[in-house]
């Protein structure tokens, strides 16, 4: 069932994040771009959605399920939210093979390894299965990181400038992989970028964040000009 992610959070600066966020927006199924300059609070917002930091106030909801509600004292821990998060640094586990990285988030089911292999295959990196991240090229690491995020069957997918370091053809390829996954899974995807062209090409919608506040939200045509 297609669900919408509703976010309304206030985050004050802390050791974990120096940025202020006071934003409210919705992310329907499909790809929503979180657009804004450096320091706008984009990564902080993603961390709050993933449960990696506790907002000072607000509410985060997916469909009818409340993940965070300050007033009702609800704060579902990160490991029970089902958020697929691809970090800017990718954060692949260096001591595990590609297969073990992807299998990490799959429960202890008998077909765990098969499922992980299928995902690597889908991302065209099955040849990396027994290799460690230190041996991957940039593009290969991106694919394994995406496969790992897809593996948990996420209810929400968050991409923190995951493709920013890639060249254009590779970025398009990876984005097509994300698009195929989203079309099949019908989940909300929130993707950070501060490249206007990329935002227009990739997103269904856009939320523009400036100084932690939503400046505009709607169609990606908002970014024209």
């Amino acid at each position: 069932m297609a669900e919408t992610l509703d976010v309304c959070v206030r985050v004050r600066p802390s050791r974990k994040s120096p940025f202020v966020v006071d934003a409210a927006f919705s992310v329907p199924p499909g790809i929503t771009i979180l657009f804004g300059p450096s320091g706008a609070g984009k990564s902080t917002t993603l961390a709050a959605i993933a449960g990696l930091l506790v907002p000072e106030a607000g509410r985060i909801r997916v469909g009818e399920e409340v993940w965070f509600d300050h007033d009702a004292r609800v704060d579902r821990p990160a490991h029970r939210r089902g958020v697929g998060l691809v970090f800017q640094s990718l954060a692949l586990f260096p001591h595990l093979t590609a297969l073990a990285n992807v299998a990490y988030g799959i429960g202890k089911t008998p077909d765990r390894e098969q499922r992980a292999r299928r995902l690597l295959q889908k991302m065209r990196v099955e040849h990396l299965a027994e290799r460690h991240p230190v041996t991957f090229s940039g593009g290969e690491a991106q694919r394994v990181a995406l496969a790992r995020a897809f593996a948990i069957g996420p209810r929400v997918l968050l991409l923190d400038e995951a493709f920013s370091a890639m060249d254009e053809p590779l970025r398009r390829e990876l984005q097509a992989d994300v698009r195929a996954f989203v079309d099949e899974a019908r989940i909300p995807v929130l993707q950070i970028t501060h490249h206007r062209e990329e935002a227009r090409a990739l997103g269904d919608r856009v939320v523009v964040l400036e100084d932690g506040r939503v400046k505009a939200a709607g169609s990606t045509t908002l970014l024209t000009g």
Partner: protein, 219 residues
């Protein structure tokens, strides 16, 4: 010449390393991962056995585990024996010597692990404990292993605290360091030579291995 003190030293160092390993890794993780009031004070207390004179440290330990202390009374109630002037006392002294090496190494090794990796594990469904044991701990293991080796070497060679807490009872609490001291005092250098050679070689080997473990890996 008897090798018994050396055998006792190895037994004590092994036991002390296991105990210091459990406590030291827990302390190192606590100091590395949590911000709490008094964190610096805890760090100072954990490190202090490195710098406090052994006799002073020995005095504190005597007070803490002596027959009339709560710990000493509890130990007596459980085992019928005493901690001081016993092998258990030797292990306590050696553990105290090893602990700063393990805790410091564990803290540094855990702090060196990219925090994004533990966060990634959390989003992949891992509880904080699973994220720690399957991601942070394996990545910190080389540094922790180096700390355990240094702690073992330190426990093996403890002298001052052991003497204060457990005395120098041949066949019971006399470790290699104490036996060497006794032999030199009695002009029995030949008796001490073997143990001196073994302890010296072991210290060098441990330092070499610890350096290898903590050197950054490439490729």
């Amino acid at each position: 010449m008897t090798w018994q003190p050396l055998v006792l030293s190895f037994q004590v160092a092994a036991a002390a390393t296991v105990i210091a390993g459990v406590i030291g890794i827990a302390l190192g993780a606590w100091l590395a991962l949590w911000r709490f009031p008094g964190r610096d004070l805890v760090d100072v207390l954990v490190t202090s056995p490195l710098l406090v004179p052994p006799t002073v440290l020995g005095y504190y330990v005597l007070v803490a585990i002596g027959q009339h202390s709560p710990v000493g009374r509890l130990y007596h109630a459980l085992t019928g024996g005493t901690l001081v002037f016993s092998r258990a006392g030797v292990i306590v002294a050696a553990t105290l010597g090893a602990l700063p090496f393990v805790a410091k190494a564990a803290r540094a090794a855990i702090e060196a692990v990219d925090p994004a990796l533990a966060r990634a594990a959390r989003t992949l469904g891992a509880s904080p404990w699973r994220a720690f044991t399957t991601v942070v701990l394996p990545l910190a293991s080389r540094g922790i292993a180096a700390g355990l080796m240094l702690g073992f070497a330190r426990a093996l060679g403890d002298f001052g605290v052991t003497l204060m807490v457990a005395g120098d009872i041949p066949g019971e609490t006399q470790t290699a360091s104490l036996a060497i001291y006794d032999a030199i005092q009695a002009s029995r250098e030949a008796d001490a030579a073997g143990m001196i050679a073994v302890l010296s070689a072991l210290a060098c080997a441990v330092l070499y291995a610890a350096n290898k473990l903590t050197r950054p890996r490439h490729g």
